[in-house]
Amino acid sequence: MQLELRGITKRFPGVVANDAVDLQVESGEVHGLLGENGAGKSTLMNILYGLYRADEGEILIDGEPLLLDDPGDAIDAGIGMVHQHFMLVPVFTVAENIVLGVEQTDRLGRLDRATASRRVAELAEESGLPVDPDALVEDLPVGVQQRVEILKALYRDARLLILDEPTAVLTPQEADDLFDAIRGFTAEGRSVIFISHKLREHREIADRISVLRRGRIVGTADPRTASEQELANLMVGRPVELTVERAPAEPKEVVLEVAGLQVADAVGTTVVHEVDLEVRAGEIMAVAGVEGNGQTPLVRAITGLQDIAGGSVSIAGRDVASRTRKEVLRDGIGHVPEDRNRDGLVAEFSVAENLILNLWDAEPFARRASLQFDEIRAHARKVVASYDIRTPSVDTPAGSLSGGNQQKLVVSREFDRPIDLLVASQPTRGVDVGSIEYIHNQLLVKRDEGTAVLLVSSELDEVLALADRIAVMFHGRIVGPFETPISKEAVGRMMAGADPDEVFEDHDPSNRPSSHGRSSDAAASGGPA
């Protein structure tokens, strides 16, 4: 199926999300759509899937204009979409999710569940995406849930598949499996639109790449000839430095010491197993890993947001478990949470109020129980100036700032007070390139001031660019840490669960895990463990 978009324009109040976008997808082609967060990729695809209506422009399929009022029309036209956030009902079975909307029933209107399960099983078999049709979706790991999403589109015989950031939730190995499946689809003559902000993936899978920037198509590239640097420049609109200048670290005493840590989730399943970790003053220790491998509970336990089920966490020699989150924060821990909108900001509060969100009842912002508004504003004016937060005033609600400035606000709140340990989770997620650079530099500044930094990130490039030592988290366990430099492939394989010994044996035997040497060293110099 051949698809053509002509002059698609979509405006939201105050923003032009898509500006006269032209795009052509040939039959049997994998068309990569590359762009930063917020470039308008999702909006464009939602228009193509009938979820939004374009203000201008038209969609043609095999030369015929197509009118899309709702996703039903798109499905009828043979378009299928795998959303970034899965469109699956957690309490339904796999088969129920797949047949939803195209159910087969008997004369009484009763669902034919047996046939549905059988057909789903067959389809799964054919397309090389194995699933159990009768499992509840909520019990499945994300990688399998994604398969269900793809099967849902195939079940409706989609000729054009839209995959919106499909690799964000996958390990590199799972991503490879996905790419194999994609090649299978195109071999059958299906077309695929592959959306990602990761350059490497485009070069690996796409036949052609269109780059979207600020709602406009700014270029089309051939993945075989274009370099990553060229693509990056095109995506951002100016020369980008893909790496960060940094001096070697000068690690000092151990600040964070995690020993045998176990964390359980709400229903009692252990999600963090026997983790040992040390972070020293003046170094950046990174925890790499695909999301959902226990990083979130690990960080929550370290920063006093979650009870621990076993082991110990101590910061500057003081035990975390026996203290409240408030005490932990006040004792000199900075925490940049992974989801700033959920955990970092009160959108309706002003910039000034957000800047004292974790010091709201401390001197000088409060005296006894009385808030000191003058102090709060004065503090905010100072921080806004020194961290380059772009805001009309300190009384502006934080929710109306751009994503990058919101993140700077969160970061500056943690950086501006004296801290011994900084825990930064996904500190550059959903942020524009300019702010990424700024935040990376600030992390290095903090390191060089002698703060211990624990960086948790699923962006391999970020980890490799910033970390002095890297640990990898997989299925709730930690391997490493390893000294940098270390090859990207090695980290990638360990993120997928490969045994470090194997990784280094068949790759680079000189770079052995250094964790044990480091710990004994630390025990000698870092006082009582």
């Binding site: 917020g38 430095e241 893909l242 524009d432």
Partner: protein, 446 residues
């Protein structure tokens, strides 16, 4: 692709950035990229941001309330007007003469119209007259407003913490019952001891009854709307039972009515030289509580914490605040305020307990708080407004025979319009600039 993994970060340094590869728009470089992440925002978030930008010079309270109720002053006024307008139609149609005239409407339409307008004018002027027309009318208005201010605050405080307190009715009953028990159970005490003791009893009982849904929410996640609805019904039945026991019941009566509160536990009249005016010191208590609550909510660290928890509980937790404690505190304070209303009603006005003596005053608190848009000053003003409606409504019933329940209908309509600002805009065709929805509480799921 095979060389890719080994080309880790360090190697890129050596690649020269290729300016030719970047199709340049002059001036678009560094500064504009900062705003770039804004480009694609989901519509709901965009609307929030627009509403927030409009309010950017306001204090945090005002913005909070915009977020809580999503309505502006204009919408509030239009809501009241719309409700009165619909009320007018109900008055007109319930008038027998108008209905008769309607049967020959097409022959002589003016008859029906004239009669209709007459009946509406008569009813509403009786209402205004009855609420504001003189000394004793004003006194009655404030008598009606007194408990409403307190039950309104009892809804407003949890509302700011993101909680919906439907339980003011039950908390009112708990407070009034204990205040009454102390009021008639103890004898021989001087006013200076007996009255404060009875008030304290009411506050404490209401606070404890409010504490229950709070602790249930904090410990088990039980939705406060469900538990307060259930606790209201329990309070109604239990007080009904208590009044029939010998401890409470008046010995000379067989119907369920309690003994009378001792003179020493009654609120003195405020205007002592004019003994016919029922307005009493409980009004002063209500206003004093309002001032205290204002400080607590707008000026204190407790209010900051409570507002933060209400707007974003996970960010509040992350900042070291304690949502569970806030939930319990908010509900206990709310219960105490509703309990104070109950005490004021029993000690200041009714002087004895009867079945269901709260008579919907707790539910009225919901109207008052929403009408006051969750703000303390607004809630006080709304309490007085609904007080006017109630006091005036009684006069309307007496003068024109229009039943008092009309006030209830008008009240319901006012909140409908406040809760659904889109409806008001649709009626009056106002261009929606702050299209925030009327979302106040959250779904059942915690």
């Amino acid at each position: 692709m095979s060389d890719d993994p080994t080309r880790s970060g360090q190697q890129h340094e050596r690649e020269e950035p290729d300016p030719a590869g970047a199709p340049d728009e002059p001036g678009s470089v560094a500064t504009e990229t900062h705003d770039e992440a804004r480009a694609e925002i989901e519509a709901a978030k965009e609307r929030e941001a627009t509403a927030a930008r409009l309010a950017q010079d306001a204090t945090f309270t005002q913005r909070l309330v915009a977020a809580l109720t999503g309505t502006g002053v204009i919408v509030t006024i239009l809501a009241i007007l719309s409700a009165l307008l619909i009320g007018a139609f109900i008055i007109a149609f319930s008038e027998e003469a108008v209905r008769d005239a309607l049967t020959y409407f097409f022959a002589r339409p003016t008859d029906a119209l004239r009669l209709g307008v007459d009946s509406v004018v008569a009813a509403y002027s009786a209402l205004v007259q009855g609420a504001l027309g003189g000394q004793s009318q004003l006194s009655e208005t404030f008598v009606s407003a007194t408990p409403l201010i307190m039950t309104g605050l009892a809804v407003a405080v949890p509302l700011r913490a993101g909680l919906f307190n439907i339980g003011a009715e039950g908390q009112f009953l708990a407070g009034g019952t204990v205040a009454g028990l102390i009021g008639f159970g103890l004898t021989g005490l001087p006013l200076a001891i007996h009255l404060p003791l009875a008030i304290a009893g009411g506050l404490l009982a209401g606070g404890l009854y409010g504490w229950i849904p709070g602790i249930l929410k904090a410990k088990t996640g039980a939705h406060e709307v469900i538990s307060t609805i259930m606790l209201n019904n329990i309070a109604l039945l239990v007080t009904g039972y208590l009044i029939s026991t010998t401890l409470f019941r008046r010995p000379d009566r067989s119907d369920p009515i309690s003994k009378s509160v001792e003179e020493s536990a009654r609120f003195p009249r405020l205007i002592w030289w004019e003994p016919s005016l029922r307005v009493n010191w409980s009004l002063v208590m209500a206003l004093a509580l309002a001032v205290l609550v204002f400080w607590l909510m707008e000026r204190s660290t407790h209010g900051f914490e409570l507002n933060a928890v209400g707007l974003n509980p996970s960010a509040a937790t992350s900042a070291g605040m304690n949502p569970a404690r806030v939930v319990v505190t908010a509900f206990s304070v709310a219960g105490a305020l509703a309990g104070a209303a109950g005490a004021a009603t029993i000690l200041g006005l009714q002087h004895r307990l009867t079945i269901g003596f709260a008579a919907g005053l707790g539910f009225d608190g919901i109207t008052v708080a929403l009408l006051g848009r969750g703000r303390i000053g607004g809630t006080v003003a709304a309490g007085i407004l609904i007080g006017i409606l109630k006091a005036g409504g009684r006069n309307m019933q007496a003068q024109t025979g229009t039943s008092l329940e009309l006030a209830l209908v008008i009240q319901a309509l006012i909140i409908v319009f406040i809760a659904a600002p889109g409806l008001v805009r649709a009626i009056f065709r106002i261009k929606a600039e702050d299209l925030a929805t009327g979302q106040v509480a959250k779904g059942w799921g915690s």
